[in-house]
Chain length 108, copies 2
DNA sequence: AATATTTATTCTACAAAATAGAAAAAATAC
DNA sequence: GTATTTTTTCTATTTTGTAGAATAAATATT
């Protein structure tokens, strides 16, 4: 397969979109909103850890915020490898989808 | 997760692209070419079977051809559910990638 | 100051998907 | 009839994804 699994790609995209607000709970909320699918807690943290181990993401501990509650946030940012992986994913998508009309069902 | 796994999505796209030439070996060649990744034989046939079971694809046995060799080809075509799944996948991709510049690495 | 509530991550057993490639099948070529 | 080619089938193993309880750490409430 390609270098990124599906969940990994979604998470890298979310990290990129969320800039300096990219931590577990926010990433999960964002992806549930965009995909319309319920994603379990593990569905975020498990691949996040994997992405750090693979060095597509770098993690750093957040400072306490004025809001109530919670363990200290663990923020993530893309590494250069992470950026390259996303660029590659985009290239593949564009090739696959390019020039295709809305797919339609040809019965027969 | 979403309704399609990564490999399933790639295969549906390949089936759609290949029209009446969508059978295992061709699908594999096409996806290796587009993704630049080596995909094992199982990496095609295992998800193909799953897609038929899930009714995103319909399979039909091919007639013998003038070319030499091979078991009779098993061709695939999208069902209406398969088309819908692809349309949904496209919608999600467009939302995720829309308006994003080429991702770049912000060190810091 | 206890207790409740909220926000957040960690952990881990289980399920689903992907990988790898040998084996089998079926055809033509020599 | 033996070799070669093209194709699918099969299946054990590894990798990924899922589910959600447990834990942690902060503020709010009484």
């Amino acid at each position: 397969m390609s270098i990124l699994s599906k969940q990994e790609e979604l998470i890298l995209l979310a990290v990129w979109r969320l800039h300096d607000e990219a931590y577990g709970v926010k990433i999960r909320k964002y992806l549930i909103e965009v995909t319309g699918c319920d994603i379990s807690i593990g569905g975020i943290y498990v691949p996040l850890d994997r992405l750090v181990r693979k060095e597509f993401l770098q993690a750093y501990q957040g400072e306490p915020t004025p809001e109530r509650g919670g363990m200290s946030k663990r923020y993530y940012k893309l590494t250069s490898e992470g950026v390259e992986a996303l660029q590659e994913a985009r290239r593949v998508h564009e090739t696959l989808w390019e020039g295709l009309p809305q797919p339609s069902f040809s019965s027969g």
